[in-house]
Symmetry: C2
Subunit: 386 residues, 2 copies
Amino acid sequence: MTATTTAIWGVGTSAFGKQTSVGGPRLAWQATVEALDDAGLSAPDIDAVFAGTVFGDPGTVTRCLQQIGIAEVPVITIENACASGTSAFHEARMAVETGRFERVLAFGIETMTAHFDGAINPIASDPDGAQGFAMPSIYGMSATRYQHEFGVTPEQMALVAVKNRRHAVDNPRAQHRKTVTVEQVLGSRTVADPITLFQCCSIADAAAAAIIGPLGGSRDPNQETAIRSSELRSGRLWDHTAGKVWGWDIVAETAARAYEAAGLGADDIDVFEVHDAFTIGEIITTEALGLCELGGGGRLVESGHTGQGGPQPVNPSGGLLSRGHPLGATGLAQIAEIVWQLRGMAGERQVPGARLGAVETMGGGTAGIDGNACVVTVLERVGAGG
Amino acid sequence: MTATTTAIWGVGTSAFGKQTSVGGPRLAWQATVEALDDAGLSAPDIDAVFAGTVFGDPGTVTRCLQQIGIAEVPVITIENACASGTSAFHEARMAVETGRFERVLAFGIETMTAHFDGAINPIASDPDGAQGFAMPSIYGMSATRYQHEFGVTPEQMALVAVKNRRHAVDNPRAQHRKTVTVEQVLGSRTVADPITLFQCCSIADAAAAAIIGPLGGSRDPNQETAIRSSELRSGRLWDHTAGKVWGWDIVAETAARAYEAAGLGADDIDVFEVHDAFTIGEIITTEALGLCELGGGGRLVESGHTGQGGPQPVNPSGGLLSRGHPLGATGLAQIAEIVWQLRGMAGERQVPGARLGAVETMGGGTAGIDGNACVVTVLERVGAGG
């Protein structure tokens, strides 16, 4: 649809994990200064900011930015649930694509551990969440349906966690870096049957950032990552009368548009970061992204296709299951991982020769049925890469 | 800067007030269906949604929209504090201006009375707010400084409330429609000295909406309202080392850009809706908008310049002080009021012959120092008007 005219000039993240005492401003500083350095820019070079946060109080973002020295420019703070970070990325990219701004910071932050340890539990305050209809239950129901419809086994589900934890051993910024076995995953306590504890992502504190500008416009164009396409859709996640579960249709539709806009197909993508908030989520998402047929996601992970060394690694960072899921920061951490992979900077977790990568994030409401946003982005290496 | 190529095709709001039992979805339905009817559109005509809410849980907006029949389109939910509604309006307008979408819904919602009556107080949960550095204190300090610097009197401050309450007698959707006297305003209990209760806006439940599309593209172009300009800035609201208080500079800078983009000055504007969250706020804002000199805002309201019948009425709706301040809905209610004024639909509160109108909204963080956004929009009558 649109020509490739925008690029990621630089990325950065804080560490991910329980960092209650570090605080938002310092996490923001870590992520943003790394991204600015990576892009060869300093704070006053930024023309506008699109930021993602879900639980941040009003003022969270501007307070962080002004300590970095980014002030007096437009700041748009976006809350699109789990897809807040990639929604901010999408809007930042569109702002450059349409000529509104030249050097835009896409930024995401969430400091969750302080809030959720205390009296405030935003999900419990939601009328549906208070009835137990929260995220783990929704994924639990999806998993039950998938086991019934397609014969997905508990072991196949557990393999997603095993794979992603294995990947995270090589990701020094991930929250959980110890490997787990299928037996350990299935033996951990049940959260929402058949989802066990090690099949759930954890809350965390972190920030992540990306600088977006015109393709070829940065100080070192060979270090840019081209944005081949970015699509954002909202809509119903689950039609109870249809066979497909949570998110399948909206991910498939968003991905189809992103592939079309980029002029390629799923087979062309070398590496993916996807929204594995729960193990069944990655299984469903790999199907909807076109890596295999409907119902084939369990066999896909079992085959090794999506593991390191396989033809299309999924979540080489360890995914949400290992990195943790600080909502506003997650999407931009996914973007950062793919940028590092395409530039050959991913160290021990490098996917050899990766040239094309894709990021998928799904933002559901606390009520689970109505999707805030699904974002799919296709990125391409510009320079020689790794 | 940009040519006038976008217009407001229709607007709508719910009533404003304590409507705890009505609930967000029904308020959203009232506002959005009115805006759609006004634009001659139905729900499936909408291409994208930019929504504003501050305290809404994730999923609040998509749940509202899907009950109206707006689904499967991109939804971007923006939290820019008190300016969330006009930030959504600004982004919606830019999305049309840059050709991303053709028929965009700008939507704002806040249901506050249920939350603030209960255990959750988001401002108290903020570290600065918990220390008492919340909005009333900030405006109280601003007022004290203004009394010292410029001799603004308690009576002049009270006159803002007297004027806006008088205006709201003719606004059937306002929360507070009884007139008050200077004595009553100054005699109401002190909230943050010298700010008394009747000088504070109240929390409320409401939704508001506007449909934005290309200028001349709607079914009845004579009923469109041209968007002459819209500017959004973020940045520091208060420099303690400078003489100017809370928000002056950012409002002045944003307004100057909006006037320049529209090719006009403050004197050309016939009617304003401004962010009178507290009485001193309107005094400062009228100065920063260029209606009078620095420090002259007290004398301005005293002169009757900004009252109904004066040359430049400010807040003919009654403003936040009368309408109530459901954060996400406020900015779009301000937009709706100016649209009604320019189209001659404001009934008993009509400003005769209004051709040009402006809206200003200020979004501060709970910590008060770092501004989330100031938005200033200039609108113009297209058809014969009232």
